[in-house]
């Protein structure tokens, strides 16, 4: 027993974290100062990474960094996931300087994580083998026992689920992958990826403008502070935007959720309702309103000018970030709120009983227990931010991955450039890896639900005077800010607020005819046809999605062939992690090939199915809606099936009912609320779908859905365009409001977003 070991042994987890952070800072600062000016060569940097890797492995072997810690301490398990992602990316884009130095520091931890993970897996395997008995069934018998569960109904459900998802999701994505490896003339198979990862137009670590704000002197002598962010090229920009949005949205969501879940104060219900408002999706026009409010002549600018003497304008990436935080924080809020409610009060009481209180109690018991739910929400925000098109289009933030792919559709002559496909693949990798990592993490630590049995009425108390002050002065205003876009949309649609500010500020007046634009949207046959298209597609897609969700949800909840159930479950959930633009790209290639292939047999079909001006795009929309929004429907239907104890089914089967009779005769009537909720939620998410709508809408506008019209009329922002878009936004808000009310009050379902 040497002295180092003894010392390490007596180290507590908190010390280890502290120690790690301290070393990180020290090492990082050393590396930055020492290495940056030298522009360390590739060889050195790879050698350093290798060294780090070795150190990491040694750390694991010596027991300094245990696999169990990765599993059970939330600081480290998050760290290891993020570390791996970060390293992967820095390697890909050949980052240098600070990012690289940091990467070098992280390598031991990454190494330890990998080695620890493998070590743990191996140990698990070894342990399991010992349990195995001497007698083993032969393979044929095992197969027969497995097939026994698959009756006709089950076969049909499985085949339908797998076929639909494979053909309309996996295959298109594989096509994107294939095209991404199609080299330009004279290039190698990797050249698209090389271009996307290593050329200045995609990754620019040394931008010309390094300040993220600038001061402009206006002609009238006023000074204007323009905040826009730095442009590092689409990949880094997207990652920065998505990370910042995720962090702030999560923090905001947790605070609001905690206040609402644990405190009772006058205005509680109001705050709860208000906090849901930003979730009402009004594509494009909400970003437009944010831009208006935070623009040069908006109220914020006037306020800042009054205090600091500067006018203020938010632009570009900063505008995108602000809009996305406001739009997406309710996702975290909803998840966190539900998680806080699910934390068994007795676990907190036990901690209090042992002397924990206040922040200590929150940090050591409440937060860790609620964390899986929060993490599930946070990762959705990350993915949604990466794939969002609305805010980037409105703020004209062109150097974001989503916008670049969108541009790829618009500027395509002939087939979309394979370089865009490569960008799509990278976007997909980022979202998929983070999503799967978090999913794994969440499933590993979903213990919030485990302790049942006790009373689950959450602990609610009254805040002290200081807390009350904080709630009224901080939480309420933030929420009010967050609902301004929705409010603005309604006001613009009612002609109260003009979408064009005057030099003195926003133009607000009493309208002569408040319902003019709403009436026009619903009566003008051209505009109305967009609405009709949307609702037709969404209606048909919802039917498909509900059937698909039933097949998938039932198979997953009842199938005892675990790996098969897991594959199907992952397939059905993955649309959450697949950016809409990648799916759109996939359909583009898919239909291109399909039209070509079919035209040998049916010569007339080429014009109908090939991407181009004669494309009958409704096919794409119906398929895209049903696949992209499937997870929401599945989640609801699956929850229904899980709610029904398997014994209820077995009791019927035992009495002589076949499975089809059991599912549709006994179970369906029991879970009809879940199915209808899933259908309704699916419907509104389909109606507000943006990416495939705007990418394919442009090809043949006769079939375009309303979001395409909204995008078209918000970009130019001239004449009545924004008012009509706002009117559409208001209609969407109304529909969503009705749906939420039905889901919550009629079907008594929780309106939540825990999608992972």
């Amino acid at each position: 027993m040497n002295i180092t070991r003894l010392w390490v042994g007596s180290l507590r987890r908190e010390d280890l974290t502290l120690f790690g952070t301290g070393t990180a800072l020290l090492l990082a600062s050393l590396l930055i100062n020492a290495l940056q000016p030298l522009e360390i060569s590739k060889v050195v940097s790879y050698a350093l990474m290798l060294l780090g890797f070795t150190v990491g492995s040694v750390m694991v072997v010596k027991g300094l960094y245990r696999y169990d810690y990765i599993r059970y301490s939330f600081t480290l398990s998050f760290l290891s996931v993020i570390t791996l992602l970060y390293l992967f990316l820095t390697l890909l884009i050949e980052a240098y300087g600070v990012p690289q130095a940091f990467a070098v520091f992280l390598t031991p931890l990454a190494g330890a994580s990998i080695v620890g993970y493998l070590h743990g897996k191996l140990r698990e395997k070894g342990g399991m083998l010992k349990v195995g008995s001497l007698r083993k069934p032969d393979l044929r018998r095992r197969l027969r026992a497995t097939l026994y569960q698959l009756d006709t109904t089950m076969w049909f459900f499985l085949l339908f689920g797998f076929l639909y998802l494979t053909v309309f999701m996996v295959l298109p994505i594989l096509l994107v992958l294939t095209y991404s490896f199609t080299p330009p003339a004279g290039g190698g198979w990797w050249s698209n990826f090389y271009n996307v990862l290593r050329t200045v137009s995609y990754v620019n670590l040394n931008p010309i403008v390094k300040e993220w704000w600038s001061v402009v002197n206006l002609p009238n002598g006023q000074r204007l502070l323009v905040v826009r962010g730095v442009d590092y090229g689409p990949i880094i920009n997207s990652l920065i935007v998505a990370s910042v949005v995720t962090v702030f949205a999560t923090a905001l969501g947790i605070v609001v959720a905690f206040v609402l879940a644990r405190y009772k104060f006058p205005g509680h219900t109001l705050l709860r309702v208000l906090a849901l408002m930003p979730l009402f999706n009004t594509p494009f026009i909400n970003s437009f309103v944010v831009k208006l409010i935070w623009g040069q002549d908006g109220p914020i600018s006037s306020l800042i000018e009054l205090i600091f003497g500067y006018k203020l304008r938010l632009e570009g990436y900063v505008g995108v970030i602000l809009t996305q935080i406001i739009t997406f924080f309710p996702i975290v809020y909803l998840n966190a709120y539900n998680s806080f409610l699910n934390v068994d009060p007795s676990t907190e009481e036990q901690a209090e009983n042992l002397g924990a209180k206040g922040f200590k109690l929150f940090r050591s018991v409440t937060l860790p227990l609620a964390l899986p739910g929060i993490a599930a929400g946070a990762i959705l925000v990350f993915v949604f931010s990466l794939e969002d098109l609305g805010a980037p289009i409105v703020f004209n933030a062109q150097n974001l991955m989503s916008y670049r792919i969108f541009r790829g559709f618009q500027t395509a002559t002939g087939l979309i450039s394979p370089e865009i496909a490569a960008l799509g693949v990278i976007l997909l990798m980022i979202t998929l890896v983070s999503f799967l990592a978090i999913r794994n993490y969440v499933s590993m630590r979903s213990y919030a639900m485990i302790s049942r049995g006790g009373r689950l009425s959450p602990r609610v108390r009254c805040p002290g005077p200081l807390g009350l002050l904080a709630i009224y002065l901080a939480v309420f205003p933030v929420i009010l800010f967050a609902i301004l876009p929705q409010l603005g949309v309604i006001l613009i649609s009612l002609d109260v607020l003009k979408p064009y500010p005057t030099a003195t500020g926003l133009d607000i007046r009493i309208p002569e005819n408040p319902f003019m634009y709403l009436t026009k949207v619903l009566s003008d046959s051209t505009i109305y046809s967009y609405l009709l298209n949307t609702f037709t597609y969404a209606g048909i897609s919802v039917l498909i999605a509900v059937f698909l969700a039933t097949a998938v949800g039932y198979s997953v909840s009842r199938l005892k062939i675990k790996w098969l159930a897991n594959v199907l479950d992952s397939l059905a959930t993955s649309p959450l992690a697949i950016p809409g633009l990648v799916i759109a790209l996939g359909y583009y290639y898919f239909f291109y090939i399909l039209a070509n292939a079919l035209s040998y047999v049916f010569p007339g079909i080429y014009a109908d199915l090939s991407p181009g001006p004669t494309f009958k795009t409704w096919v794409v929309f119906i398929i895209a809606f049903s696949v992209r929004r499937l997870p929401y429907v599945v989640r609801s239907v699956f929850a229904g099936f899980q709610q029904v104890h398997e014994n209820l089914e077995e009791a019927a089967m035992n009495l002589g009912a076949t499975r089809i009779k059991v599912v549709f005769g006994v179970i369906f009537p029991l879970i009809v609320g879940y199915i209808l909720s899933g259908a309704l939620l699916g419907f509104i998410y389909m109606a507000t779908e943006v990416t495939t709508s705007v990418t394919f809408g442009g090809m043949n506008s006769a079939y375009a859905p309303m979001t395409y019209y909204m995008a078209q009329n918000i970009v130019g922002a001239a004449g009545q365009g924004p008012m009509l878009v706002a009117a559409m936004g208001t209609i969407l808000i109304m529909i969503q409001l009705v749906v939420v009310i039905i889901v919550v009050y009629v079907f008594k379902q929780r309106y939540a977003f825990i999608g992972v």
Partner: protein
């Protein structure tokens, strides 16, 4: 009435063995219990009989027909689940009629037949008049009866009961126990009853199979299991026992003499095994120990000092120190006992069982 036979049944979940090479036969019209602690594989065994699971090895026979791969809805067994599994959206009547409606064509039933049979079944379980209630409006005991009626009404080949009484409160459980036994007797229906409660199993069953960790420990009548356990698990699981390890010092006509470990004490007992090894376990149930001296010549008398005593109503439980070993005995509840008292005991050899230690 059906005979049910399990032949070398094994069931794996991944690499975990749930049921490990279990064989037994349930005779026609017999009340058969599968008894064991939680996680011993008893419910899995029942589910294999019902057809909800397929064994990975082995066969299941109903009479002499191999039903191993017959779907549950074609086996015509009727199961009562631990949680009753009543469909909450159907009334009592609808719940009970469900199985009959499915058999309407097959059995050539008219609506009037079904109505009559449902009413009869409800009468049998004494629930007449509650036809139009929903399960959630019933008490636990009533729900239990509905589940029973639903199972009985289809005239199953076998009745399968999965811990049916475990969700009832203690008093009701004893009432239902009697009722269940009477019902089964009058219907003369092959019944398999899964439970972890040894009292329930012993009081209800004709025969019991004891399971532990997926393995079959012993099959036999309650008396056989109680008085002639074949292994330590059964001895320990059924009733209470003093279990001592020891070494065989002599074998005689129908008896063995064993010297207990850590003690000078030599006791005599019987053994169900022909070839008993040297290392054995001695099982002495507290209720067979007699107070005072005397009795059969072969009986062993000992003296012990009261170390611990508890009054529990119908008797006094006391723990004696006899040299280094400790022995649980029952005393009459009127017995005035003090710690440190010396007590004389007789250990009747015919009721002491000697088995090989594991």
């Amino acid at each position: 009435m059906t005979k049910i036979r399990l032949e070398n049944i094994s069931k794996y979940y991944g690499n975990v063995v749930a049921v490990d090479d279990v064989s037994f036969e349930v005779r026609k019209g017999e009340f058969f219990a599968i008894l064991g602690p939680s996680g011993c594989g008893k419910t899995t065994t029942l589910r294999i009989i019902a057809g909800f699971e397929v064994p990975d090895i082995g066969r299941v026979y109903f009479d002499d027909e191999d039903v191993t791969f017959v779907k549950p809805y074609k086996r015509n067994t009727a199961m009562v689940f631990q949680n009753y599994a009543l469909w909450p959206h159907m009334t009592v009547y609808e719940n009970v009629a469900y199985g009959l409606k499915l058999r309407k064509k097959e059995l050539n039933l008219t609506d009037a037949d079904i109505d009559r049979m449902v009413k009869e079944a409800l009468e049998l379980v004494r629930l007449s008049g509650l036809e139009n209630r929903y399960p959630l409006q019933l008490s636990g005991g009533q729900q239990q009866r509905v589940a029973l009626a639903r199972a009985l009404v289809v005239r199953p080949r076998a009745l399968l009961l999965d811990e049916p009484l475990s969700n009832l409160d203690a008093k009701l459980r004893i009432e239902m126990r009697e009722e269940l036994k009477k019902l089964q007797r009058s219907l003369n229906l092959t019944t398999i009853y899964v439970t972890h409660d040894q009292l329930e199993a012993m009081s209800l069953s004709d025969r019991i199979a004891v399971l532990n960790k997926g393995r079959l420990m012993q099959v036999g009548t309650p008396q056989e299991l109680y008085f002639r356990p074949k292994n330590l698990f059964v001895a320990d699981f059924l009733g209470r026992s003093n279990i001592y390890s020891g070494e065989v010092v002599a074998k005689g006509e129908g008896y063995v003499e064993v010297k207990l470990e850590d003690s000078d004490l030599i006791v005599r007992g019987v053994t169900p095994f022909e070839n008993i090894p040297k290392k054995v376990a001695v099982i002495i149930r507290p209720e067979i120990i007699r107070l005072g001296e005397g009795g059969d010549d072969m009986d062993v008398s000992v003296r012990g000092v009261v170390d611990f005593a508890m009054f529990i109503g119908d008797k006094v439980e006391a723990r004696l120190k006899i040299g280094k070993i400790s022995m649980l005995i029952y005393l009459p509840n009127t017995y005035n006992i003090r710690l440190g008292d010396e007590v004389k005991l007789t250990l009747p050899w015919r009721n002491i069982v000697v088995i090989p230690s594991d």
